[in-house]
Subunit: 283 residues, 2 copies
């Protein structure tokens, strides 16, 4: 296969590569690429995907290994910067259907995030009993949505991440970019990777944190650093576009929860997430 | 003050007491009371409150200490049973506005849960800018709701916890108890402590996991052990009844997310939570 087809051929896989350190079990090295920067630091969803890749190595080994994140939670401790990072994993419990582990991501000895996750096998229970009352977002087709090329330069400057994503936002939820936020606290759109990398559970972790902060749609400027992010991956996504809905129902006293739904091209809700973000109001 | 008025005078405070082990910093002892049992194990919300109390001791010390959980996440590793438990806490980061720590709860050397949490001072930012689009549940008055005394004995037998709570469920969401689930996946009602113990952030952690599994309202029997539970505490609750709404929007392949909202008597959304539960379908 061509280099393009190897994992290393895709931006996302290059950006989330972890290398087991020889002679040091459960220690991995990664390189944080500044191209995934948003605001001051590296995107929290990408960091979560890096942590998840290290945990997959920790929990996925052996015949009874578990390689798919069912639930993963990260607490962000300090701002990650471009450059080398070290990951240290630990198995908390190895079970028959699921296993749980924890991982720490450090730079220069300073802890950037601590995560816990329960892994399993998403194929094992697939196509079973499904009762989803949630409904996929009603979006105009991607070609009728707003791409990053239409975003204000001042915004793109602070979000190099945008050049790594093919993001198409619903025009009804981008009024904030033109100074007319809807006040509903909802931003939704389409996501795919420009280099053709198809979605998988790891990419869903990025998707859960890929949109601009929903506080923008409340008319509150300023970045919203994540304190805590939990993603529940419920199924392996079908190839093609992902539909994302990010919403907040409770902005209060400088903090907000932000819920995300990720729907795949087959119309299945493949991931749900919630984060607590601190909103630095710019006046 | 009378014994009744001391912390120890209330069931909830007795049930969540942690005692610092002398000579062993960051190690605490607790006694898990079988009266908080639901299904096979001790209620996950109560365990979370015990873990939170240990973390408050770890992170709350000193003038710049942080005593209120802003966000707390627990991963449940094995079934907790009545009897002694040991908690081991660790500070991950001590900051100016928030601090983050982790705690492990063990019984007989076996880890029951691992939690991470970020603590702060809920009074510091209180009464600030609030934009909540969520609306409190529309409930009949408590005297028109369904108390545990009306629950099927077979259900109460499996949930000693119920005798520790004054829980009044909305009649519209208890059809499942009479074999007529609504299929909406929503259970809501009122909660207060029978002994007059007023709500505080710790009690909100219990409230987030106090209702029967929403899968009952989907017509799916069987208990729903929690894999992961995250609670965001957004404000100190006013005294009086709490209003709870638990709902699931995605039951799939034996797992469901369950969202909870906790509203206080002043009509404020004081806590939001989400958990991933494994649903053991009884056929």
């Amino acid at each position: 296969m061509t280099d393009r087809e190897t994992d290393q051929g895709y931006e996302f896989d290059r950006g989330t590569t972890v290398v087991a350190r020889s002679g040091e079990p459960s220690v991995f090295d990664a390189e944080l690429d500044g191209g995934w920067r948003i605001g001051k630091g590296i995107n929290g969803g990408l960091l979560l995907a890096i942590a998840a890749r290290a945990l997959a190595a920790e929990l996925g080994g052996g015949e009874d290994g578990h390689s798919d994140p069912f639930s993963i939670t990260a607490y962000y401790l300090s701002t990650s910067t471009a450059g080398p990072a070290e990951l240290r994993t630990e198995t908390l419990r190895r079970g028959r259907t699921v296993s749980t582990g924890t991982v720490s991501l450090l730079q220069g000895g300073e802890e950037r995030l601590r995560a816990i996750a329960t892994y399993g096998d998403l194929d094992r229970h697939a196509a079973g009993d499904i009762r989803t009352s949630a409904t996929p977002p009603n979006l105009p087709p991607p070609e009728k949505c707003v791409g990053a090329e239409l975003a204000p330069p001042s915004f793109v400057e602070q979000a190099e991440l945008l050049s790594r994503l093919d993001l198409r936002l619903d025009p009804d939820t981008v009024g904030w970019a033109m100074g007319a936020p809807s006040g509903r606290g909802v931003i939704q759109g389409w996501l795919r990777m420009p280099d053709g990398r198809e979605p998988d559970p790891l990419l869903l972790l990025l998707a859960a944190d890929a949109l601009p902060p929903t506080s923008f749609d409340l008319g509150i400027g300023g970045w919203a650093p994540t304190l805590e992010l939990t993603v529940h991956v419920r199924a392996k996504p079908a190839p093609g576009w992902l539909r994302l809905v990010h919403s907040t129902r409770n902005f209060a006293d400088g903090y907000m929860e932000e819920d995300a739904e990720v729907w795949d091209s087959s119309g299945r809700l493949v991931a749900q997430s919630r984060q607590l973000a601190r909103v630095r109001v710019q006046r």
